[in-house]
């Protein structure tokens, strides 16, 4: 599995991904699932991947035309006129890779063995930052402030805190903190999501990453979040109004709020 979150804020985009891949629980490895490319001052485009690793690596390799000699390579993402076009290119390539591999193995693409999902984020000069979720079928949806973040992979454990904690005008620092909590909750519950994490912050009209970092398991900030969050949650629980059992009254509620 995997856990990746892409989040849209008033001031830009924040992306975080884990690095664990596994085939069963006895075959785990660390692979980067976040990629980005830029034309400084003109565009920055990031991709995060979840699903079959051979599929997602094939898509990224083909985007970068690694089958050609270095001098002859063109990254079509760096030439696409709009982010919509970028999402279309990634979607088509993803769908092609899945379908080809499935066909070679006598399966349908829908069987899912070779399936993958991606988040595409970025900005091209003169246009707004945009955030897309790309489906294995090659189509995609775009985030708006009604649904301002996308998750892929093992999404459920870390979702409640994102729903509660997100605000569109939050600072990048607050958004990174929120994501760290979401990842920590997921890491605590599911072995298929693992450290280190990759973090990328794209400020609107920056056209180069404002902040980029690999957060290791030994990272003092992440460790402090992980430790403090347990305590903060317990205090938050304690602060909530108490339930009152009142057996004599057959469970009548006595509010103490």
């Amino acid at each position: 599995m995997t856990y990746c979150v892409g989040m849209m804020l008033d001031r830009g985009l924040v992306l975080m991904s884990d690095t664990r891949t596994n085939s069963g629980v006895d075959n785990i490895s660390t692979f980067r699932k976040m990629y980005h490319w830029q034309v400084p001052g003109e565009r920055v485009i990031a991709v995060m991947t979840a699903g079959n690793l051979a599929t997602t690596q094939a898509v990224v390799s083909q985007l970068e035309e690694r089958n050609k000699a270095p001098a002859e390579r063109h990254n079509s993402l760096l030439e696409a006129p709009t982010m919509f076009q970028v999402a279309t290119i990634v979607g088509n390539l993803l769908q092609d890779v899945i379908e080809e591999r499935a066909a070679d193995n006598g399966q349908t693409a829908a069987a899912g063995t070779f399936s993958a999902t991606m988040i595409v984020a970025g900005q091209i000069k003169g246009m707004e930052p945009r955030l897309f979720l790309i489906y294995p079928e090659g189509n995609f949806i775009e985030a708006s402030f009604d649904t301002p973040f996308f998750q892929i992979g093992e999404t459920k454990y870390g979702r409640p805190i994102l729903i509660r904690g997100y605000e569109r005008d939050m600072s990048f620092e607050a958004a990174v903190k929120l994501m760290c909590v979401s990842f920590d909750s997921t890491l605590k519950a599911n072995l298929s999501v693992g450290m280190p994490l990759d973090l990328l912050v794209l400020e609107t009209d920056g056209f180069t990453p404002l902040h980029e970092r690999r957060i290791e398991a030994s990272d003092p900030y992440f460790q402090s979040i992980s430790t403090s969050w347990g305590e903060a949650l317990r205090q938050a629980l304690e602060g909530l109004p108490d339930y009152t059992l009142d057996a004599a009254a057959g469970g009548r509620l006595k509010g103490t709020a």
Copy 2:
């Protein structure tokens, strides 16, 4: 889907279940998924169910021998000598019902169409309270204080808070509060889990429910938890150490904890 939690505490057992069943998103209904039986002063046994509703209702009907005239019915759970035997009866019946329905439809039981999972909890006089998770294959596992709670159905959203908030010596009131938060997080994230909730508290050596209640959507306590928890989480987040972007230093961390 469904969401049910059974929790073992030093002082007894707490069970909570939702009541939504759905076949697609356009066919939703309310059904009780929590059942209990008692011989006052001697035993109390509770069952919660997730999965195919026809399967789980068939199991419960057969436990109660509803195919016989009322005077001739014997509930074998009320005659089993141990909770282990109770779990065995429920497991065998569950597996039989699934297998028979699958076979009638030319499927294997493993195909999952008729599958279901159950939580069995209770106490028989002279023995400890016990909590079991029953698999569709008919086998089961028992909770211990290493893994003191079981969830069935849509388990992921509400799991992180249970992991962080649970303590074996907590009061029943605190445990109900914790469960309300776990259910609220799940309800907020997944349409297939819905109000009202059923709550059952079994005190050790009580042999009759200490507290039993249906929590409606309009319940002022549950509403206050739902409202306060969002605010409490935001405050808990704010209280955590801030992340510092330091772009000039390539993302060097400046601890502010």
